[in-house]
Symmetry: C2
């Protein structure tokens, strides 16, 4: 810890400069996609999803939503909507394949869709594990620190939303302070709250203060997350938030919350068929609200252990399902979100490493465009970890470099150096090595590859301990990104006005 | 620890039965391959390798090898051999694309090549970290325990060789006891020693005792590992062992030992070109010794940190290089070996998990046929870990299931269950779930996905601690696989006879 506090102003400057230099733009993936389904398999699943929506139907538990579906020609019985596949596909075709998410610092704006990939931090953890290594409820102060880390992590493209829940603020007012922290502690794009339609509306108003009254309807500045209650129920809260954002021209990730085997069948392919039906029905619905509004095909996906009921990540079927879902999203031409560095581990141990990596790598190959939970996730999402945030964020830099693919730019010079060195020589001092050593191979800072003796001498620290130290060091160097004080004043006025009328509710 | 010792005979029987039931045959990969090079990139690298061998040449530091190359038409100057690409390719074409590695228990025989994949344990660690969590030199007793674990791990297809070095036995005699342990503690196939040609010959003689005098020349029963001293030197020891095995019809993995950036250029693609030249020159050479002898395209590959000189695994370029090498091996139609669960971590912590998994997953997609170091590797190979062996071995079962690809066998029944359950229901009790829950989703035993409370109640164990416990429990249940006592007697006679004439050398 002490190390992080040493150095003061000059350390802050050094860390800040290094961060500024290495802040990474949207990842343009140059590596190929990976497809585990042949055309027949893909059609079987797509057809299965269409049959679910035509024959079983799906609940849209919101009166306005039902009216919109009815007007569009769907068969509506109570909450249940049966959607003909022609209607479904014609609505789905209106979802843009790509959009720009504008950040308040234009250099941090990102592109979602196509061959672009963005990484986002973890989301929604009620608990945190910070440098004291105690698991406890998260606070607003914890969340601000996580927002700062997201800002200072080069490969984390978006500040997220509730990296941890600020449980010391009443639920009814929480969203106001979360959005304020997102805007003041970072200049990257962010996500919007969805816990109630009026909270979504507040976030839209705050974004208008930041970007100007007329910017929003045609410029996405927030991406939000609406979950389906699987199987086959979109509830009033989520539909309410979805409508607010769609009308404000703001994209929403339409994401079935899938615990495969519990709220889906005990079959990976049928799980995908159900999840797909849920996702595309919501995407189609958004186009009834505002045709052409950018949206994202989403999901949260874990497999349920049939022994314990516990959610599992990083397993065979998670990899296969993510790959299949990527193929479906491409078939529909819509941007696709997945969840990366997942683990059920309570701490940042070997399990956390195995599960996160085995979960994440196939998602990169699946062509996911917007990858949530790429930093800080432990305990199946219940606990945001400071250590894991730092370690994960560095691994995202590694994958960022992987996705650049093989680099042939200096191939002739490199081959010439083989001739110069010849059999039995070594390359450490060659001109080519000198010129290229900083870019040729990714060199992680937080993975310890030193000798056993060196590592022992430095305190025999685990990766978890090094992760905590790195995060603390980074936070000590934080300085807020510049912002017009008038904007902050206006945000604070808005928050005060809203807080005056909002009750201190706990839900 | 106590847990592992409870239960005695019945626990042993239970563990043994479960092991017998779940011992897995050769993995038949059904997932597609992943190719990061287009045809042009692949040809550039192949052509680069051919130019290295034609224009720069490669050292074969063995008089007989030079004579064989000269007779075949290569240009030989001192140790240096320049190999025309037509000669190279015509020799390479003689290497069989696939072979069977016969185990003494026929059910454990495996296939190398084609769409088959086998997993092998770690190899060559001087140090161990066992249940007392102390890093120390390995002994024969440690090695026997690792051989037993390899035997009892369903997805580990081969018992390996020196999972740790038995440093309590003189180097000159070590190979005899290693091979005896391989044969008596396991009935899976194994690897052969290569530290001297006469030791390779001893292993061949012991294999003849096991399989009969005339079985070997046409039946691979051991696969061995010869390393190239990169750049571009095959030394007398390795060529000596290579010749012994080739003449006995036993496959050898011809593996450049590549520390990318140190003994290759600071370029991933040029590293692959050099490594490829080294590997294919040795494969070609083996076909001068015994045309048609099965062989394996190999490599050991780490990237060197240009900051510290330390080898790194699980990074961007390791993934890309493994994928490129897979494409080259396929171009030549030869079986291909890689190295899976690598890490530089000194312990089985989050770093070990991240690096191992990010290193391993692309290797599966690269189409590697024989994957070494899939269980137990830590500290860049210097230390074999009991904990990591158990954890890694389970992750190999996970990947084994991944590689089966999507399963459509019960798709109609699973889809029917969606109709039965309907919106808002759950699937835990359905007939389809009951019938399929054991196979639908991989359920790891050693990854803890229980609640924080349950995990705390059970001692808040890290994955490393659970790995140690699992390994100890497994070892307590070990019973040697049946073997003809006459064979063991004959092996012991052979060992006694050889030991009587071998000096107690330390190298």
């Amino acid at each position: 810890m002490a190390e992080g506090r040493r150095g003061g102003r000059s350390a802050r400057r050094a860390e800040r400069m290094s961060m500024r230099v290495t802040s990474l733009p949207t990842l343009k993936r140059r590596t190929p996609l990976y497809e585990v389904l042949n055309d027949e398999g893909l059609e079987l699943i797509h057809d299965g999803s269409c049959r679910i929506l035509e024959e079983i139907g799906i609940d849209f538990r919101d009166a306005e939503a039902l009216a919109l579906w009815k007007d569009a020609g769907a068969d509506v019985q109570g909450w249940r909507v049966h959607i003909p596949r022609e209607l479904l596909m014609s609505l789905l075709a209106k979802v843009p394949g790509q959009f720009t998410l504008t950040a308040r610092n234009a250099e941090r704006s990102v592109t979602v869709g196509g061959n672009n990939v963005i990484f986002l931090p973890t989301y929604g953890s009620p608990f945190v594990r910070m440098e004291d290594d105690v698991r406890r409820y998260g606070t607003m102060a914890d969340l601000e620190r996580f927002h700062r880390l997201a800002y200072m992590s080069p490969a984390i493209h978006n500040t997220g939303l509730v990296i941890c829940e600020p449980t010391d603020i009443p639920v009814s007012k929480r969203h106001l302070h979360i959005v304020r922290s997102l805007i003041t502690n970072s200049d990257k794009s962010f996500m919007g709250p969805v816990t109630a339609p009026e909270r979504a509306q507040d976030a839209v108003e705050m974004a208008k203060i930041l970007f100007g009254e007329n910017f929003l309807p045609d410029h996405p500045v927030m991406v939000s997350l609406a979950n389906c209650n699987s199987p086959l129920v979109w509830d009033e809260t989520m539909l309410g938030a979805l409508k607010v954002y769609a009308r404000a021209g703001q994209p929403v990730i339409c994401a079935p919350f899938t615990l495969a085997g519990a709220n889906t069948p005990a079959s990976a392919v049928a799980t995908v068929a159900e999840l797909n039906a849920e996702a595309i029905s919501a995407l189609a619905f958004t186009q009834l609200v505002r045709p052409g509004c950018p949206m994202v095909y989403g999901h949260f996906l874990a497999a349920v252990s049939m022994k314990s009921g516990a959610p599992m990540a990083g397993t065979s079927e998670l990899a296969l399902m993510n790959l299949m879902i990527g193929q479906l999203a491409r078939k529909y031409g819509v941007p696709f979100r997945s969840s990366g560095m997942l683990t059920g581990s309570k701490v940042t141990d070997a399990q956390a490493g195995y599960e996160s990596a085995f979960n994440m790598f196939p998602i990169m190959l699946a062509g996911a465009h917007l990858i949530m939970h790429t930093a800080g996730w432990t305990e199946a999402g219940l606990c945001a970890s400071l250590a894991k945030f730092a370690l994960d964020a560095e691994q995202m830099e590694m994958l960022y470099k992987f996705a650049q693919g093989p680099q042939f730019g200096d191939f002739d010079e490199a081959m010439a150096s083989i001739r110069d060195v010849g059999p039995g020589g070594h390359f450490l001092g060659t001109a080519h090595t000198q010129a290229n050593f900083q870019t040729a191979f990714f060199m992680p800072e937080l993975m310890d590859n030193n000798s056993f003796e060196q590592w022992s001498l430095e305190g025999a620290k685990t990766a978890e301990a090094r992760g905590v130290e790195a995060a603390v060091r980074k936070l000590a160097a934080f300085e807020p990104p510049p912002i017009d004080p008038g904007v902050v004043e206006a945000l604070d006025e808005f928050i005060a006005k809203r807080e005056a009328v909002l009750p201190d509710t706990l839900t």
